[in-house]
């Protein structure tokens, strides 16, 4: 099969998976079902990474997001046991739904129009970046961003520990 056509078909498939997952996440009344929608989206994004010839990113996406983050989200859902019929679970009235739909579609329309006006030439097959090169760049050229991420994670962790301790004291 023609390689370009195959890539386009796969892109369509992954985009469909991402959109379907996103819709499932937004429209679900049940938080766990919304989480499954999120998992679908994450898998679709991993597929896009594969299409960009970056298997490392794709596998890391699955390892970190599906394997760890989603599991933690499930933990949070179970710990909070939010009531199924909360305020957010009610269907929205017509005007609100219309505005929400517009707010969702507007960025897509703007981005789509911009892309159609300036079609990007991305016909060449992207080259796979060697893992060692990627690691070296993360710790030299992009070290600031890399370390900032760890600071964010550290703050989140410290906050979680703090919350845990104050709750224990209150008991």
């Amino acid at each position: 099969m023609n390689q370009t056509l195959a890539a386009q078909l796969l892109f369509a498939l992954y985009a469909l998976v991402i959109l379907a997952g996103g819709l499932a996440a937004v429209l679900a009344r049940n938080l766990v079902r919304a989480m499954v929608g999120l998992v679908m989206t994450l898998f679709g994004v991993a597929g896009l990474y594969l299409l960009l010839n970056t298997p490392f990113m794709a596998f890391m996406q699955i390892l970190i997001y599906v394997g760890a983050v989603v599991v933690l989200i499930f933990f949070a859902i179970m710990l909070t046991r939010s009531p199924a019929g909360g305020e957010e679970a009610k269907p929205r009235a017509g005007r609100q739904a219309l505005l929400a739909g517009l707010a969702g579609l507007a960025p897509a329309a703007v981005l789509g129009a911009a892309l159609l006006a300036n079609p990007l030439a991305s016909a060449t097959r992207p080259a796979e970046v060697e893992l060692k090169l990627l690691g070296a760049h993360l710790l030299t050229s992009y070290v600031l961003a890399f370390e900032l991420i760890s600071v964010v994670l550290f703050i989140a962790m410290a906050g979680a520990v703090l919350l845990g301790f104050t709750r224990r004291k209150g008991q």
């Binding site: 298997p55 394997g67 760890a68």
Partner: protein, 331 residues
Amino acid sequence: MNLHTLAKSLGVALPLVQMVVGLVALAAFVGLNAVLLVWMERKVAGHFQRRPGPYEVGPWGLLQTVADAVKLVAKQLFTPPGGDRTLFWTAPFTAFLPVFVMLLPLPWSHTLTAFPVNLGLLLILAFAGLNVLALCLAGWGSNNKWALIGAARAVAQSVAYEIPLLLAVLAVVFLTGTLDLGLIVACQGDMPWEWLGASQPLAFVIYVVCAVAETNRAPFDLPEAESELTAGFHTEYSGMGFGLFFLAEYANMIVVSAVATTLFLGGWKGPVLPGPWWFLLKVYALIFLIMWFRWTYPRTRFDQLLNLAWKWLIPLALVNLLATAVLVELA
């Protein structure tokens, strides 16, 4: 007819043919392996606990599992009322299907790999995480308190044990400098003292403990814990719903043992015998060890389980990783 001519006559790319043939072979292996391992588990349990195990159906009870499989297939599939039907039936497939992806990059011998991937180790680790998700969905969709408690335990357990497992595996990656399972085997020799398990004994022990916990096998089988939670996350599953979880558990045992073999025990390498035999021998020896654990140790308490991971395995794995990094830099 070899695969090259087959690919040419079908007019498709060779890797595609390789993948399909590999997947079919792996599917057959997973099915056969489950039948064999269930029988082996009963025999091992029987001999460890001084009872005969199955011996009525077929010679040495060999056909017992076949009879069980027929029973499982014939049973009615039941969805608990009040449960989430979609999630309930998504769960067993989420548990079972990733197994095939995880078996693809394993090197069975010098040339025999279903689908060589240069990030094979990462691929296996990534898809191994889906097992927890399956347990969560099963527990949630069942609308059953035992199942939900089982799911909660599965989450806490897997989050705790995934960290030392990854750290232990990373130590090997530091030594070999690659994530390609074939190349990791190539770094090791035929004899046991040339295996990476000899230079990374602590990582090997940590890996095996975590692997037992990640596959939810006793003494770490808290998500199902029959004596406390009926059957934990799969309480509500009948027939092949349960059957798929079962197949997944035994296939996961193969995966963790095969990865341990590849990383620490020299993979398919060994004297005299050809590669695939050594590989299978080492994998099944490890599985026997895991069964040995199950029928020797009582189930741990939940706080003991978490303390073991957070207070012992993670610090030890970190120290081991640091030492490895220093040694690699010095060498």
